[in-house]
């Protein structure tokens, strides 16, 4: 244990407005701390640079799941166990609960938050691929007001995002238009549980008469941050799922994916495996199509 608790401040303003006041008063000085499953690991390793922390855990305004007619809105401090337990999410956006079940262990899922996962911005983030293929939007708030952007525009670089120093990630908005889509999500880790992604692929698609009328693909660990695979999508959009199309998509993904070698895996492995995942997904679709 290399952290020194006395070297850090942690305060709990206790409400969302109070937190925003604090962030506005000293932009960039206060690091939000929600479930602690990232910050406390860095702390114990002696790598927590942030000296001042502001507590978000326990603020009711940040932990909610609301269903409207057009969307499901998830508060940033919603935990992964909360996500797994929610009936509407399970029914319409199953990849959310699926990725939530992969976050560490039950003990981590009870504390890790969706907002924390996104704000931390690891390229291997478990929740990101699903959010990307569900057209998630991120709502950020500050004393100045609130704004929403597509999640696909949230990350700008390795562990970097668009948030201003006085902004807080407030909620994730998910449109309720994917219930009829075909969903796919697979994570490849070092073991079945408690594993950081080597690579993961999420997909949602709509087929009409065997032709791809909508397709969204997203991956973890292929780039400095989780990304949509727009070029590969373009190759599939409007196409029937023939063998040629599958091969072409595989080739496109191979070219689009730019993973790296790191301590967990190799670039070559990641590329080949994500292409296999795509193939597995598309094969599953065309098999079902053929059997109709």
């Amino acid at each position: 244990m290399r952290g020194n608790a006395e070297a850090h401040e942690l305060i709990a303003p206790g409400s969302l407005p109070a937190v925003l006041d604090l962030l506005a008063s000293a932009p960039g000085e206060w690091t939000p701390l929600a479930g602690g499953t990232e910050v406390m690991v860095a702390f114990a390793a002696g790598r927590l640079g942030a000296q001042k922390l502001v507590n978000l855990w326990g603020i009711p305004d940040l932990r909610f799941i609301r269903t409207t007619s057009s969307s499901i809105v998830i508060g940033a401090c919603t935990t992964f166990l909360d996500l797994r337990a929610h009936a509407d999410l399970a029914a319409e956006l199953p990849l959310i609960a699926k990725s939530a079940s992969w976050i560490g262990s039950v003990a981590n899922q009870s504390r890790a938050t969706l907002g924390g996962n996104l704000a931390n911005g690891s390229p291997a983030a478990d929740s990101s691929p699903a959010l990307l293929v569900y057209d998630a939007e991120i709502e950020m708030v500050s004393k100045r007001g609130s704004r929403r952007i597509p999640y696909a525009e949230f990350h700008t670089g390795y562990k970097q995002n668009v948030m201003a120093p006085d902004e807080l990630l407030y909620a994730i908005h998910l449109p309720r238009r994917f219930a009829d889509h075909r969903h796919y999500l697979r994570k490849v880790g070092t073991r079945r549980a408690m594993a950081i992604s080597k690579v993961a692929l999420a997909a949602s698609t709509l087929l009409e008469d065997g032709v791809v009328s909508e397709i969204r693909l997203a991956a973890a660990s292929l780039a400095p941050f989780p990304t949509r695979l727009f070029k590969t999508e373009a190759v599939l959009l409007g196409q029937p799922l023939t063998n040629e199309a599958l091969l072409e998509a595989r080739g496109a993904l191979f070219a689009e994916a730019q993973p790296i070698d790191d301590i967990r895996s190799t670039a070559n492995y990641r590329k080949h495996v994500v292409a296999n995942l795509l193939h597995e997904f598309l094969l599953g679709l065309s098999a079902e199509g053929a059997s109709r």
Binding site: M1, R2, N4, A5, E6, V41, A45, G46, V188, T190, R191, R192, A193, M194, A195, I196, I263, R264, S265, T266, N268, Y269, H272, V273, N276, L277, H279, E280
Partner: protein
């Protein structure tokens, strides 16, 4: 005779002796303990793998007068850890030979002050070229140890291998490699030390061998035996990783205690423990095997090399066991094994469950499947044709006198696993499945106890005594760290004496209290020390009958009353016995010839593995282990040992990779040193056969290390069955499977062009 007679307690699953304390959270591990006025210590370590220390500077931002700082200059006696060769310094003195080598120690009353202080010590080095592989060491461009980088070499010869190469129907060669493996005991290394001029050195800690630590401390401090006391505390896992390393940590804590005048606690955090302490020796084994047209072994030539890291530690004895297990449970008239342990600038490697055998058994059992392919013989049949039987001799020409039932073990493994049905099903399903399944086997023995005359040299002393409060105490220096020492030895004592299990306790593993019954290693505890306790217990009751009027049958009250009569007469009630070697054990250490081990446990493992061609990951789906282990003294504990060893072996094969970068472990966190979780372990089926061993405690042989030998070869044999591709090296990660399988695909594509 005791080995086969009906027993009351031995053979039953008596509940774990210290189980209630562990379950209630009351068991005290070293970090749960505080001593009055205790300070905390930490270590300044080398950041380079090899070089000279040019200067040590102390940044003035720290108030150093509040700290105690210890260097090699503070060592009163010899600056060496006493293992086999006294080459490893307790603290580096002018030179470092591996990353994270201990250079300085610091202590302070506030543990939070230590991190900053460590980063305020500035060491300047003159770097020297490091070497990190067996091959670099063999080439001897850099000499990093002794005159020639060679810690140890053995040559084992039987018959004359060179007489058969020309005429042999088949010659098969292969090279096999194993990587390092980390113990990952869930409790990190920890010690508390105290020093006083009056009492000398006292240490408490997480350790396997109190007398090993004692042996080093008396030399470090130049103190007589009775001025050093070592006490084992509840130990949270060890697996060999706390056999030699605690001697270093205890020395460090004791030096700080001496210089500071305070008790000092040193507990490693996970990152430090992973980076700085011992691991399993990496190995390279080359096989060249001659067979006749029927697949009978004619000659085995084996070239074995291990990487010992920067200091000798236990490399010679690991090499010895590796050598003696290399030829496996097979009869072969001509054998030559050349074995060498090499020095590099890696962090020194040390003891780990199996102690060289997992390395060479992996090579052999993989090689047997390669031979089977080359000769187009079924891998089971190849083994049956070559199994050792009673009356055969091993590679050291040890005559197998005991009943040897490898065929029956194999039969049972095949039956319990429904091997043929499964294998046929996989052959049918694999071609059209993205998941390729296979089933593979490993057949092996594991020698129980110390090699050759090792036990004679240890000359263990052990026994029981009775306290006035009416408790019988088992007096041994052997320790509990999960494997069941406390439970089984007290079962044996209860059985031999004729009283209840609940009336026996273990004396603390405290060198100030118990005799030296040898280390808790080499799967010797129940067989060797158990036998001593059995004899001591029988001796106690015999004495009570002869001298205190105890009847043939007696109640609990009568027993303790008789003890008190002896105490009145003699002042104490104690029964100690010394080790007696079984007859017929002759071992020539020069020629590597004779009875290598007093007994062997025999085993057949079977692994069903699924290889996912989408992700290239291999997972063990189901596992069977059949073993003949002498007598099983506690079925639940014995089963738990087999299952735990198999889980570790599965990690060794498929998950656990020590990633070294410039001599430093780069993945020194639990998040990236990967062991199987509850979701990864397969169902494991354990079956025992029992042929009591006359000279083991109530007929027992050793079992602790046996199960770690089987998984790596059986799993990789299963992968070969599943994919048709042979892998020769572990850990076998998905990236490695991918590289070979995809390379194979491209080669096929090119071939068809």
């Amino acid at each position: 005779m005791s080995t086969t007679a009906k027993t009351r307690i031995v053979g039953a699953s008596a509940p774990r002796k210290e189980g209630a304390d562990k379950l209630l959270g009351r068991a005290l591990y070293i970090d749960d303990i505080e001593r009055e006025g205790m300070w905390f210590g930490s270590t300044v370590r080398s950041t380079i793998p090899r070089g000279l220390i040019r200067s040590i500077g102390f940044d003035r931002r720290i108030n150093w007068s509040d700290f105690t700082v210890v260097t090699a200059a503070d060592i009163p006696g010899e600056n060496h850890i006493q293992l086999i060769v006294a080459d490893q310094p307790c603290l580096a003195d002018g030179q470092v030979n591996h990353c994270d080598e201990a250079i300085l120690l610091i202590a302070h009353p506030d543990k939070h002050k230590l991190r900053d202080a460590i980063s305020a010590v500035h060491i300047e080095y003159e770097t020297l070229p490091p070497i990190f592989t067996i091959e670099e060491s063999e080439h001897r461009d850099q000499i990093v140890w002794g005159k020639d980088n060679l810690f140890k070499s053995f040559l084992l010869e039987k018959g004359n291998v060179d007489s058969v190469w020309e005429s042999a129907a088949h010659i098969v060669e292969g090279e096999y490699r194993t990587g390092a493996q980390e113990h990952l005991y869930i409790e990190n290394n920890g010690i508390i030390a105290e020093w006083s001029a009056e009492n000398g050195v006292t240490v408490w800690g997480s350790l396997q061998c109190p007398y090993y630590v004692h042996k080093t401390l008396i030399k470090i401090f130049d103190l007589p035996d009775d001025k050093v006391r070592v006490i084992q505390t509840e130990t949270g896992g060890a697996f060999g990783g706390k056999e030699d390393y605690p001697s270093t940590l205890a020395s460090h804590a004791a030096l700080l205690a001496m210089k500071s005048g305070h008790p000092v606690k040193m507990i490693y955090d996970r990152m430090e423990d992973l980076a700085a302490t011992t691991k399993r020796h990496p190995s390279r084994t080359r096989h060249r095997t001659a067979l006749d047209k029927d697949g009978k072994l004619l000659a085995m030539e084996i070239d074995l090399a291990t990487d010992g890291g920067a200091y000798a530690t236990l490399s010679s004895t690991v090499l010895s066991r590796a050598t003696l297990h290399a030829p496996g449970p097979y009869s072969c008239p001509n054998v030559r094994i050349g074995a060498k342990a090499w020095a590099t600038n890696n962090v020194p490697y040390g003891a780990f469950r199996g102690f060289g055998a997992p390395q060479t058994i992996f090579a052999l059992e993989r090689h047997m499947d390669e031979i089977a392919s080359a000769l187009s013989i079924d891998p089971l049949e190849l083994r049956r044709r070559n199994f050792l039987h009673t009356g055969d001799t091993t590679a050291t020409e040890q005559l197998m006198r005991e009943p040897l039932i490898m065929d029956q073990l194999l039969d049972r493994a095949l039956k319990e696993s429904d091997y043929h049905t499964r294998r046929a099903r996989f052959a049918r399903e694999n071609p059209t499945s993205a998941i390729k399944r296979g089933i593979g086997i490993a057949c092996f023995y594991h020698g129980s106890g110390f090699t050759g005359s090792g036990e004679r040299i240890l000359n263990s002393l052990a026994g029981v005594d009775v306290s006035p409060e009416g408790k019988v105490r088992v007096m041994v220096s052997n320790t509990e760290f999960g494997q069941g020492t406390n439970t089984v030895l007290t079962q044996i004592a209860a059985e031999a004496i004729g009283i209840d299990y609940d009336d026996i306790i273990m004396a603390a593993a405290d060198t100030g209290l118990v005799p030296n019954s040898g280390p808790t290693v080499a799967s010797r505890t129940v067989m060797v020390v158990g036998r001593l306790i059995e004899r001591a217990g029988l001796q106690l009751t015999a004495t009570l009958r002869e001298q205190a009027g105890l009847g043939d049958k007696f109640t609990r009250e009568e027993f303790f009353a008789a003890c008190e009569r002896v105490r009145s007469a003699k002042g104490e009630v104690v029964s100690l016995v010394r080790y007696e070697a079984p007859p017929g054990i002759f071992w020539d250490d020069e020629k590597y010839h004779g009875e290598a081990y007093p007994s062997y446990a025999w085993s057949v493992h079977m692994a069903q593995v699924a290889v996912d061609t989408v992700t290239f990951s291999a997972e063990v789906e189901e596992y069977w282990a059949v073993q003949e282990v002498g007598r099983v003294l506690n079925p639940v504990l014995a089963t738990g040992q087999i299952e735990g060893g198999i889980a570790q072996g599965i990690g060794y094969a498929l998950y656990e990779k020590v990633v070294m970068q410039n001599g430093r472990m780069a993945n020194n966190q639990m998040t990236n040193y990967i062991i199987p979780t509850a979701e990864d372990v397969p169902p494991i089926h354990v079956f025992f056969e029992e042929i009591p061993f006359k000279y083991g405690g109530y007929g027992a042989k050793g079992i602790g290390e046996l199960p770690h030998d089987g998984p790596a070869p059986s799993i990789l044999n299963a992968i070969k069955n599943a994919t048709g591709v042979s892998f020769h090296s572990i850990p076998l990660l998905p990236e490695d499977l991918f590289a070979q399988l995809v390379a194979r695909e491209s080669a096929k594509e090119h071939a068809t062009l």
